[in-house]
Amino acid sequence: MPVNRRGKKSRPGSAVDTPVQQDPREGEPLANFKTTGITNLCNVAKPFKNSEYKSGRRWKNLKQVVAQEQAASNWPVDFPAYWAIDAPPSLLPQKKYCDITGLSAKYTDPKTNVRYHSAEVYQVIRTLPPGAEQQYLALRNASVTLK
């Protein structure tokens, strides 16, 4: 089991899962790659790096970062923070479109909630394999998920 700098077991699949840290300054000098080009970056010496520097952190995803940051500080009301600039929901009436063809939809199938353009498309809905209508609904994020 690989052990990282802080002595904790590294979690498999985490982004920090680089088993052995090598000194970035070691490796072949850049001049050796003049004609071959660089593929594996680990083979090249990177003298410009600080060999002492290691982050060794586990990185949070954007959602976690934003939530944490929003909660941790007193943000000025009018400060343009990442979470504050999301476009608000639409206030306009939404036109409906056929889930199958994308054409304008006059009707909604009461059984599946799929919107459809014409009787012909309705025939298609009727012959859909079970579950397929959920995939169509998922297109506009309207599928029913059972938990």
Partner: protein, 755 residues
Amino acid sequence: MMAKTNVYEIPDGPPDPQPALPSFDYAEMGQGGIPLVIDNSPGCCRAGWATEQDPRLEFESVVAKYRNRKLSAGPISLVGSSVYSDPMAKSSIRSAFDGDVVTNFDSMECILDYIFTMLGCVEDKIDQPIVMTEAVCTPYTSRSNMSELLFECYNIPSVTYGIDSAWSYYKNTGTFNTDGLVIGSGTTTTHIIPIYDTRAQTEHCKRINMGSTSMEEYLLKLLQLKYPTFPMKITEWQAQDLIQNFTYVAEDYDRELSSYLATENLAQKDTTIQFPFPTPSLDERTEEEIQQATERRREQAKKMQEMAARKRQEKIEERAKELEELTAIRDSKDELDGRSYAMRLADAGIEDDQDLEEAISNAQQVVSRAQNKELGVEPEEKDTPTFPLADVPDEELTDEQKQEKRKQVLLKAGYEARMRARVEKEKEKVRQDELARQDEERRLNHFDEWLADLKGKRDKTIARMEERRAHRRELNDRRSHASQVRMRNIADLAANEGTAPTGKRRRRGDQDDDFGAEDDDWNIYRDISKEDEAEEDEEDEAELERHNKQLSLYAPDYLESLDRAARGKIESATMYRFTEGCKQAILEKPAAPQKLDNEAIVARVAREYQLHLNVERIRVPEIIFRPGLVGLDQAGLLETIEGVVRQTGSRISLLDNVFVTGCGFAQISGILERLRCDIQGIAPTGTPIAVRRAADPLRDAWRGAAQWSMREAEAFRASRITRQDYLEHGGEYLREHSASNRYSRVSARSSPPPT
């Protein structure tokens, strides 16, 4: 409707990546503190010297870190398109970004390593000021980590952060003194940023969480649902390729949509996407070769026949010889004495005279039959067998004779039945011949009537088959009327059977329901059976074939016209046009016989590997105007623009300089016209409106940053976050400038926030 269609042969994927060659002029280029400009965006990273026109490096912003013992003992880290060079790397491909924000700084470190290495840095620190793009309103955490990495790991002297689309605006406007409205559309987000008072006003900007990848995902899902049985996997790269080449923004979405699948538009707007397909095995011989082959086959068959005949002949001769010998033995009976005759018999394996006679007659029969066959003579009708005992009363017979009589009675019955059947058959044949003759006569004398009849018969056969098919379909549905009738019949039969054998009642006869008294009663079993129909289907199929053959012989246009009509009906359907564009429909059972030549076979196979883009071409980019299409609960582009302008105190001057840039929706053709048209609808009458696109929506952010840092020396100097700033104010510290985000020092909350 065989219109010329636009066929696009889509490649499998990007061309194979070539290992990139590093530069070796770092020391010269960087002399005098020339800034290094890095446009760090989630799709593509660009880096180079501020003094140059174009970025030196331009690579896909992906990293793969893994081990592969076959290739190298140590760890491997690949950056850019080289991650696709090793199949092992595939599962460990990572991006530094989550959305438009850098979150994974291990990957970021690899990317920076790659940039500095490729630019040829061999010094022990990076001694150039860095100019780098960051997301609009980047979270402090992300900037803090980035600064930490740059200052601690690479020892850079200073960094300037700015917004890519603002710099792109600078590149195309030459100044921040002109007011404008920037629409920066990236891989996952689209920002609307007003620019006035000489800077990007991020406090009034808005973000719609949609970018180029949203379109790719949407197109992929649409195609998967449209062609659920498509034999190929459509890759993200291919989806991107299709979006770049074929999608466009409709100026008036609803109007264009309403007639998109109409005949007059379809041929022009439908696009056929041809995926690579396997070549079918073909008969590639020429006419002459085929003829030669059949000739050879015929000759071979002839040879075989001759050989078989020779063999038969030999056999006959053998038997004839045998016969001769046997007759010789018989003839010798008179000449030889008893003893030597008996010996001769024994030699031939024969017991006595009777045996000999039998053998001779057997041999005679075999020889004569064989000879007859060879000469083509039909075996003559055997004499009518006699059954002398069959009609003699039992009383006059001995026991042995009775037994013989029984046998003869059976034989007689069988013989008579055979004869009757033969007569029947002959009669039937005569009748059929007569019918055929009449038919032929009718055809010659009353052709029109005859043809109409034939068509009618054909239609009837088809109707019959169709009816049976419908019935079968209905039986599959348990709740249909047909199924219920069947179940009721079964239940009735079962009920009758259940009561019938209960002894006494049956004897009394009060339950006798006369079942079977009429022949039709038995049809009930046919009705409840599901299998019987196969036979009838076959009969009708054969009949249809017969009709078709005659029709194609005497009225060849008729079947063609039927096929044309059938095809026309299919082709005019909305769903068909949606999935197949204006391709000719393939009939499941064409009436006219079809012969596919090689070209047609290839075309058939090719068609299975074809997709059609039609409605999708406008449906996919439309999502930025109607995020509801993909279920995103945000206002569309126009509504957001309206909101942003209102927030700025309705500075309608912004609308005279709407600027579109970035790798997302900005690249889609028609977006400028659409925006102009839509903005006209919301702006007060007479407002001057101008919408334009960056000269190069992809690279102008980098070029703008480079130019800005060289030309606006004053502003650039003031914007540099130095090592001292970093140490003093922390990683999230930002020096504001015209193209930057806002910075405000925030205090930590003393109490934990309410959860």
